[in-house]
Symmetry: C3
Subunit: 116 residues, 3 copies
């Protein structure tokens, strides 16, 4: 099966396709400084839409998602944005846990696997 990569950098690629399976990097908000969990989650999901599009797929084909939030008390705030975004009837397997992220500005990180 063919491997195809998009947004390839020296440390990681944002999109890696292997046959019909698409792996995305853990995505964090653009310009996170001062953005709340709602704004960060919106930024992340919008980026994920873009990366899935580059891979020739979309959120209705999500298979699995790992979500990290830095403060579990923001779980509902993150979920409100997530619930409004996912494709009804086509929701992925998902797990959410609390973890510190790369810098204190980041409050949410989401990593998904999708089908093409």
């Amino acid at each position: 099966m063919k491997i195809e990569r998009h947004d390839v950098a020296a440390r990681m690629s944002k999109v890696v396709m292997h046959g019909d399976t698409v792996y995305l990097a853990g995505i964090v908000a653009d310009e996170p400084k001062g953005k709340n969990v709602t704004e960060q989650t919106k930024s992340i999901l919008s980026q994920i839409d873009g990366f899935l599009k580059k891979a020739g797929t979309d959120k209705s084909k999500l298979l699995s998602a790992n979500i990290w939030i830095t403060d579990m008390s923001t779980f509902q705030e993150m979920n409100a944005v997530w619930d409004a975004w996912v494709s009804l009837g086509n929701t992925p397997a998902r797990a959410t846990v609390e973890a510190k992220l790369a810098t204190p500005d980041y409050k949410v990180e989401i990593m998904v696997v999708a089908a093409k």
Copy 2:
């Protein structure tokens, strides 16, 4: 490749099949309140058995597992239940780390990928 989902809710699906690969959601204990790590792990693995069955597979075809426990001092307690459950000779790739989960009642969460 075909995508098939079971136990689909508005936020996530518990079982997502893509071709011959089965993704399960992060599973936590049923009625966790007051249950210890042994009891929670047993509840989780029993639910995983059920979800794998719905996908037409079983624990002898596990590929990979991510385990989160809220207190690493319970690692051996979780492992005792895990070790008694896995299919000898067919154990998955696995990683276990400590993380806070969705509510303080949850002490263990397990997310697996299996083959059909």
Copy 3:
């Protein structure tokens, strides 16, 4: 699709192949006691090279990586070793978060998925 396992133990396997996809366990440093993040990351990536070889593949076919470090202030130290190791132009999707690991001696754990 065929499942093939290497380094199979009673708790987990280090390498699980399913068709053209290779799942590795979360790998930690050999003899971690007193080793810093640089040394531990080198030990881990060297072990990953060995496990990928057993699966008939190599780091140029990495699809995805999850990295856990116990102290986010060591992020750059881990990255320096990672950046020198990855196959330029063939970097995987990646996410790094902070988490406590199985024993306090471990400072880094890395779990990858690769193609054959």
